[in-house]
């Protein structure tokens, strides 16, 4: 099953700048034609795409209805790491005092938006929230603009491994006495003392104090975190979840795309179509070599089609390779987004027919 229209959860992955977000929006819009109530979750959409969907910054706070004509509804949600994190604390902090302690902690304040994997983790957190609410029959998730979009998928597992690593246990030790001085008497054993001693020498006590405070304040939340990280992981690997890998054109990108595809399938995710976006048209060669621009266009067409052909040779049998031509204009309204979605569907059908023949 490699057709995204048959899956309740579709995850669009790929390198930055290849048109993931626009494609995710187009897929969401198309699914409303068949009566689905769909949600498109995205990071960092271009102004133009926000304009095309007719949503603004209010979509950072809540799912925002897009004015579509189809029988189903379309909602858009813009992900914001810090906001999601704050909301999570609102929900899980045992009382107002604990909530305030976390929100005003220096470690939390500086690091919550910078900490590696937080944005990724928060996206999966939101994903789990909406997918368990049954409010939508279809969810399209556009993954964060990281080069290794795979970071996103590993985030729940990293959180679990972090929580299991003992880092938290050590952080929660009563390291400091009432005066804020490090207790030298803590009985952590040889290894604990070495590791701690190392951190003390390398990073100083101030950071450790902030971290200890942060983890102490956060401790009541960890139980729920871990449980949900595991549930998100199951959701991502479920056969009902389909991944769509988007790549830029050209034979130079083939190795990158294969790398992504292999990592996804090896990690147990269900990869459907591979989309090669913005492919230049193939032009008949001309003898007029003086026309440099024409020569360039011809070269681009050749380069891009060679890339598609190479991908088809290598993975076409297991994943339909869908080529989307470079459009004169990026979609700027619902009509052109819908046209892009239609183009995708047509090309997907061709690619699936090619794969099965």
């Amino acid at each position: 099953m490699t057709d995204p229209s048959k899956h309740p959860l579709v995850i669009v992955v790929g390198s930055g700048g290849v048109g993931k977000t626009t494609l995710a929006a187009a897929l969401g819009l198309r699914s409303t034609r068949t009566g689905d109530d769909s949600l498109v979750m995205t990071f960092d959409p271009s102004l133009r795409l926000k304009d095309a969907l007719g949503v603004g910054d209010e979509a950072r706070e809540e799912d925002t209805r897009v004015k579509t004509g189809g029988p189903g509804g379309l909602w858009a949600s813009l992900l914001d790491a810090r906001l999601t994190f704050d909301k999570l604390i609102d929900r899980y902090a045992p009382d107002e005092e604990a909530r305030q302690r976390i929100l005003t902690n220096r470690f939390y304040d500086r690091l919550s938006a910078n900490l590696a994997g937080v944005l990724e983790y928060m996206a999966s957190e939101r994903l789990f929230e909406v997918s368990s609410s049954d409010r939508y029959s279809k969810i399209i998730l556009d993954t964060p603009p990281t080069r290794q979009a795979l970071d996103f998928l590993g985030a729940p597992e990293r959180i679990v491994s972090f929580l299991d690593s003992g880092a938290v246990r050590i952080a929660l030790k009563p390291w400091f006495d009432a005066d804020g001085k490090l207790k030298v008497t803590s009985k952590l054993g040889m290894i604990g003392r070495n590791v701690e001693g190392f951190f003390d020498r390398m990073v100083g006590l101030e950071l450790l104090r902030d971290m200890a405070e942060f983890f102490k304040a956060f401790a009541p939340l960890f139980g729920g975190f871990k449980e949900r990280a595991l549930q998100v992981q199951d959701l991502l690997r479920s056969p009902r979840t389909l991944f769509v890998l988007v790549s830029g054109p050209g034979s130079g990108r083939v190795a990158d795309t294969l790398f992504f595809a292999r990592r996804l399938t090896e990690a147990g995710y269900h990869l459907g179509p591979i989309v090669v976006n913005r492919v230049h048209p193939e032009l008949p060669p001309v003898r007029d070599t003086a026309n440099q621009g024409r020569r360039l266009m011809e070269w681009l067409g050749r380069r891009d089609h060679q890339g598609v052909a190479e991908l088809r040779d290598l993975v076409g049998a297991s994943h339909p390779v869908v080529e989307i031509p470079l459009l004169p204009d990026e979609p700027t309204d619902l009509k052109s987004l819908d046209a892009l979605g239609g183009l995708f569907e047509g090309r997907l059908e061709e690619a699936m027919a090619r794969a099965s023949s």
Binding site: L111, T146, R147, Q148, I170, V195, R201, V203, P281, W299
Partner: protein
């Protein structure tokens, strides 16, 4: 002062830009350009998928310094390796080193702590230009860093300051503070922003200008607008491909105009070239850069 002369004086250059805009090509071309002007250049890349050796046709670096041409070297660096080296250097005792390196706490700390890896890479570059490099290349005149496209370039340039704010004492804090000071020095450090003339990359470049202003109090040395479609010749046909070409050119022109409104500093436009990635592309792009910068 002329941009090329200014670039000639810097000791560390960071090349940033959104993924897919040709950042590695510009890094290599800029390196070749400065090497041709007599500077001893080291290109550093940290992306796990090595790229530069393809462009310069050398064997992959695998962590070693590789000579690509006269005065031009490249090295692939694994930031994690640099942090491990710091541990080895500071702890000295073998069993302690092994225990710390194997400890999950250390592993999670170095993976997760923001800015630590970036700071280690800058620290390495700084030590090299100060003459503490390995035997093959004791003291490059300039290190050019091909910064990975993850997030905005600011996450690289602001990293040492962030680390220093969080870890204000101990050797790590001290190192971070020295590097943050180095990055503020206009005579030693500069950045190059690479973008294509498309909406999102240009938008991201604007955000980077704002973030640099706010967090570093400075602006890039140079903006390179890469992969520009050439103007359509007057006698182009009216077929679909000519229309597509005309439209892409129009988008490029529109975005270049938007850039020009916002950015008045040094700027180079590099056209798309029908050349496969490799040394000839690097050479041609280097010439475009030189011409654009000499014209100014």
């Amino acid at each position: 002062m002329d941009v090329l002369n200014r670039l000639d004086r810097l000791e560390l250059l960071v090349v940033t830009g959104k993924g897919g805009v040709g950042k590695s090509t510009i890094t290599a071309a800029l390196g070749a350009l400065l090497a041709n002007r007599g500077r001893k250049v080291l290109l550093i890349e940290v992306d796990p998928r090595e790229n530069l050796h393809h462009l310069l046709e050398t064997p992959p670096s695998g962590g070693e310094i590789v000579e690509a041409a006269s005065n031009l070297h490249l090295q692939h660096i694994e930031p994690r390796q640099l942090l491990d080296d710091v541990v080895r250097e500071k702890l000295k005792v073998g069993t302690l080193v092994r225990k710390v390196l194997a400890s999950p706490v250390y592993q999670h700390f170095t993976e997760g702590a923001p800015g630590l890896k970036q700071t280690a890479v800058f620290g390495r570059a700084m030590r090299m230009v100060e003459g503490h490099g390995p035997k093959q290349l004791r003291k490059p005149d300039v290190v050019i860093l091909d910064a990975p496209a993850s997030g905005h370039g600011i996450s690289w340039m602001a990293a040492p300051q962030l680390v220093f704010e969080v870890i204000s004492s101990g050797p790590v804090g001290h190192m971070a503070s020295q590097i943050a000071t180095f990055l503020k020095d206009r005579n030693r450090f500069g950045s190059v922003v690479v973008t294509s003339a498309e909406e999102m990359p240009i938008q991201e470049a604007f955000e980077l200008f704002d973030a640099m202003d706010e967090r570093l109090g400075r602006q890039p040395e140079l903006v390179v607008a890469n992969a520009i479609y050439p103007p359509l010749p007057g006698r182009a046909g009216r077929d679909a491909s000519s229309r597509l070409w005309a439209r892409r050119r129009a988008v490029n022109e529109h975005e270049l105009a938007r850039l020009a409104e916002r950015w008045s500093g040094a700027m180079a436009e590099v056209p798309l070239e029908p050349i496969d990635a490799g040394p000839s592309l690097v050479g041609v792009v280097g010439q475009h850069l030189r011409r654009a910068l000499e014209d100014r």
